[in-house]
């Protein structure tokens, strides 16, 4: 099986460790991973801020880069970017049609919509594994990010993967399904409310006594982590992929 | 142009993008029904008539109605006891209430007249009525203004309402089944427990403007 890693611009620029972890994890599971170097950004920030027309060229570029038959699947370690492709690309196509621009855009985007998977979906649904042979001797609490939870419907998948990790003690997070307050440009446009939501999320994480708050989306973790260091919290943010990549032989510190 | 024509014109222009808006629903409503697709349940779970009555009792009690059971011949005695226990000196009875229901009652009977003022009703201690249908899944009584239920205000202004439900005949499982039994042209009041409010901190408290005490008699064997 050959997959294209759709890393996302945020991970590429700021969180390369997550990218390396996905590569390591998938390789360990016998998957051939490629990183199409021409990839940039899926256009989510543009779209969600109201710049749909400026998101369209990015979507077309995405489709050109990833939509080839060379890949069996497109895998991304981000619930929100995954949801952008899966949920919002079709909507962009529909809107273009409704605006009298035909179904060219919808057709162009269709191939990537059909084979884009968020990482935990790919592991559980496509590869059929929940025990990925990981080892991570820490107390962990899991925050389901909104787009993964509600747009993609990831459900129990991330938790099943975490429960199978050797040495990992999973503790439940109070108010887990409440948004952390990131929300893309919301974090700056409504920074007071966003910060209040972030502080509540961090307090909840702290109340669990966990060492690590795990999520499957670094955008949210950037906001939560930035709040954690500001509030001098003992909990650390770690992307799920990095936990799953960690093994007894090569532990994640 | 009248505002009526203005608004209807705006509606039609607003729907210009909708392909079949102009055609409208078929006269017999079949196109509408096909579009709606009522894939939901007519009732939730299968129950015997006895179980349905039990569920009604349970749900009525859950919302703080006081539930009593009796056989038809025990009703006059029970009603007399309930009104006495309440200390009711006056009891209002709708015109078509079976006369024998209140035969053992000591309280003075008050007749409701079209000319009765709300202030007169406010001085009545208790009211006894029948009902049109009761809904088990929601713990609801529906009154439709029939002769044994009377005008809507008589079950509203007095502070104590005793409602007699003939079981199992008047009990249905669900809201869809209840609507099917009701006549929309009648004034209908759906009652689920005594009056209540969630307006203080979104927590439910019983007892605001309607009767603060609702007693329900589930009468069998009539």
């Amino acid at each position: 099986m050959r997959v294209a890693l759709f890393l996302t611009c945020v991970n590429d620029t700021l969180y390369p460790d997550t990218g390396r972890a996905v590569v390591k994890l998938l390789t360990r599971l016998g998957v051939e991973v490629d990183f199409p170097a021409a990839q940039t950004c899926c256009g989510q920030a543009h779209y969600n801020t109201g710049y749909r027309h400026q998101a369209e060229p990015l979507a077309r570029h995405f489709s050109d880069v990833f939509g080839t038959d060379a890949y069996d699947a497109i895998v991304t370690p981000s619930g929100s970017c995954g949801a952008m492709v899966r949920e919002l690309y079709p909507r962009m196509g529909e809107r273009a049609r409704a605006e009298g621009r035909g179904d060219g855009l919808a057709r162009r985007l269709a191939p990537v919509v059909a084979k884009t998977y968020e990482l935990t979906e790919f592991l559980v649904d496509v590869l059929g594994v929940t025990d990925v042979g990981a080892y991570y001797p820490h107390k962990v609490t899991y925050h389901p990010t909104c787009h993964g939870l509600r747009s993609l419907g990831l459900g129990e998948r991330p938790l099943r993967l975490l429960r199978a990790v050797k040495g990992l003690e999973l503790v439940s997070l109070p108010g887990a399904e409440e948004c952390c307050g990131f929300g893309g440009t919301f974090a700056v446009k409504n920074s007071d409310v966003s910060a209040a939501m972030g502080a509540d999320k961090v307090r909840h994480a702290e109340s669990t006594g966990a060492d690590v708050l795990c999520a499957a989306d670094n955008s949210c973790l950037m906001h939560i982590g930035g709040t954690m260091t500001r509030l001098r919290t003992a909990v650390r943010p770690v992307h799920l992929a990095e936990i799953l990549a960690s093994t007894e032989e090569e532990p994640l510190s | 142009m009248s505002s009526r024509d203005l608004i209807l014109g705006r509606v039609r222009r607003a729907l210009a993008d909708v392909p079949d808006a102009a055609e409208g629903p078929a006269g017999d409503g079949s196109a509408y029904e096909a579009a709606v697709d009522r894939g939901y349940a007519r009732e939730h779970g299968g129950r015997t008539p006895e179980e349905t009555v039990d569920l009604l009792a349970e749900n009525l009690a859950d919302y703080r109605a006081i539930v009593h059971h009796c056989a038809a011949e025990e009703l006059p005695e029970l009603l007399a006891r309930l009104l006495a226990a309440r200390g009711a000196r006056t009891v209002l009875a709708p015109p078509g209430l079976p006369p024998h229901w209140l035969q053992a009652v000591d309280a003075t009977r008050v007749r409701d007249r079209a000319a009765s003022t709300p202030h007169e009703l406010d001085r009545v201690d208790s009211v006894v009525t029948g009902c049109a249908v009761a809904v088990a899944e929601t713990g609801t009584l529906v009154l439709d203004g029939s002769a044994d239920q009377g005008r809507r205000r008589i079950t509203l202004v007095p502070d104590h309402h005793v409602c007699v439900v003939r079981v199992p005949d008047q009990v249905v499982s669900s809201v869809p089944l209840a609507l099917g039994r009701l006549d929309p042209t009648r004034p209908l009041t759906w009652i689920s427990g005594p009056s209540a409010t969630s307006d203080i901190e979104l927590d439910r408290v019983e007892g605001v403007h309607g009767p603060r005490t609702l007693e329900v008699v589930l009468m069998s064997g009539e």
Binding site: V188 | A21, R151, I200
Partner: protein, 507 residues
């Protein structure tokens, strides 16, 4: 703001500015948190009791969509049915016209006071203020509305307008204000909810018993029968709907449903979504007027059908789904933004997620507050998840953001107009364009990433200027030594020889 809509409403500050104050108000935060969390869990339990919830939700959505797509027909049918049953139907294109109609109807009765059932439509049009200006006193009879009216306050929630008040504050308002409006609060009134409810009962009873005119809204209007439905809890609705001689109901045109049978869906979904009850304590259904013989309820019934921006909303093919709303307020109760900003920040009688998509459509996006509302959301989607008629609120929010920043064609007061892009978004637009330029060119992206990595030791963890909005509460992430793409290029994924180990573990 469009002409006569929302008369009497002051200009509200944009959402972020209002929220800035609200998040610092610890009493408000505690009140909202307590109330919304209480109802949130209960709603989930009430919904879980019905195993066909998804089907009910879908049917509710379809009923509303089918109604909207033939709205003209159903309104005509409704009018015919109401008239046949003895009622009179009036049509009001905007708030001013609706207020004028109601004022004239009350005047014609010779009365100078009316009792009111809680109604969003009459709040939306500012009816109480309009009546007051004509010397007619409108008494709110819903407990929460009473608290708001006595406290000279603004409503902050659709279902519980005084949700921002806790029991202690309510007791103080009752003690201080009831006397000026009628029967004073009982001596020694405490803050227990039962006592507070009892005080409201005593205070309002004299008003109910003498009322000659009632004013209401309606939750549903059935086209085929002409039946109106009011769903309530306290019995104040029943009082207003049955004791007065004249009843005036002001109802938005989108509240019509085609058939009697349609109620079987909404009478299951509304109470559970709203107060988290299997059924609310009281639901009243009436068709036209009562005759002299039975004398059961008002002898005169007037229905005022209200547009006030609804047809403009209907003209927007993405935004029109907001008209499915049955005003349950489940979206408010689950919204993390509402919980922290409070209802007043939304500058409208419709707060919360539904307000953020309804107000800018009913009123247009011309004012500061209305242009800011589409951004008052992190797009978390909790509102859509609980909506009993499946309004995709995030979808409409994003659509309205587009309208704000890009402008385009909209309908205002029935006329198509082209909006210019809103001012105040110029810098953002430029940034988005620049980002678009970079993202269209992987080479440019790489250049930027490398530049960031090389200068990373000089990066501050907080930002000056507009970036303060981020770094006031959060540290910036550290920029890594190299972006992923450089690592990949250097090592071909490190995995070519299975030697990605140092790379991966080198955190």
């Amino acid at each position: 703001m469009s002409g006569g809509a929302f008369v009497g409403m002051p200009a509200f500050p944009p959402f972020p500015r209002a929220a800035h104050e609200a998040v610092r108000n610890t009493t408000l935060r505690a009140n909202l948190r307590h109330a919304t969390h209480t109802i949130r869990d209960k709603r989930a339990r009430a919904v879980a009791e019905l195993d066909d919830w998804a089907e009910l939700r879908e049917a509710g959505k379809r009923i509303k969509d089918e109604t909207l797509r033939h709205l003209d027909r159903y309104l005509e049918q409704l009018e015919e049915s109401v008239v046949r049953a003895g009622g009179t139907v009036h049509w009001a294109a905007d708030a001013a016209e609706a207020n004028r109609i109601v004022t004239e109807l009350v005047r014609a009765t010779g009365e100078t006071e009316v009792v009111k059932v809680k109604s969003m439509a009459t709040q939306e049009i500012g009816l109480n203020e309009a009546l007051e200006a004509e010397g007619i006193h409108a008494y709110e009879t819903d407990l929460a509305e009473l608290i708001v009216q006595l406290g000279k306050d603004r409503p902050s929630h659709i279902l519980v307008p005084a949700i921002h008040r806790n029991r202690g504050e309510i007791r103080d308002i009752f003690r201080e204000e009831m006397g000026a409006w009628g029967r004073p609060a009982p001596d020694g009134l405490t803050d227990t909810p039962a006592e507070l409810a009892d005080a409201a009962r005593l205070h309002l009873r004299e008003k109910f018993l003498r009322a000659k005119v009632g004013v209401s809204g309606a939750n549903f209007m059935v086209a085929e029968t002409g039946t109106l439905v009011v769903v309530e809890s306290e019995g104040n609705g029943r009082m207003c709907l049955t004791l007065p001689e004249t009843l005036i109901s002001v109802v938005g045109i989108e509240k019509v449903v085609p058939t009697w049978r349609d109620l079987e869906v909404f009478l299951q979904t509304l109470p559970r979504s709203s107060t988290a009850e299997r059924m609310n304590p009281y639901t009243s259904m009436w068709t036209g007027t009562s005759d002299a013989q039975t004398a059961d309820g008002p002898r005169a019934f007037h229905l005022v059908l209200l547009d006030n921006g609804r047809t403009d909303t209907l003209a927007d093919e993405v935004g029109r789904q907001a008209l499915r709303c049955i005003r349950c307020s489940a979206c408010l109760n689950v919204c993390p933004v509402y919980e922290r900003a409070g209802g007043h920040a939304y500058g409208s009688v419709y707060p919360g997620p539904i307000g953020a998509i309804l107000s800018p459509q009913l009123r247009g996006t011309g004012s500061e507050i209305d242009a800011s509302l589409p951004y008052a959301s992190s797009l978390c989607g909790a509102c859509y998840e609980v909506c009993p008629v499946a309004i995709d609120i995030p979808e409409v929010l994003v659509h309205l953001r587009e309208r704000v920043v890009q402008g385009g064609e909209v309908t205002r007061r029935g006329v198509k107009v082209t909006l210019k892009p809103a001012r105040g978004h110029a810098a953002e637009r430029a940034a988005m364009r620049a980002a678009g330029f970079v993202f269209a060119r992987p080479g440019a992206l790489r250049l930027g990433q490398r530049l960031a990595s090389r200068t990373r030791r000089f990066h501050p963890r907080t930002l000056p200027g507009p970036g303060r909005a981020w770094s006031a509460a959060r540290d910036l992430p550290k920029v890594p030594a190299e972006p992923f793409r450089d690592w990949w290029e250097r090592t071909r994924g490190g995995a070519a020889q299975g030697s990605g180990r140092q790379e991966v573990s080198g955190k």
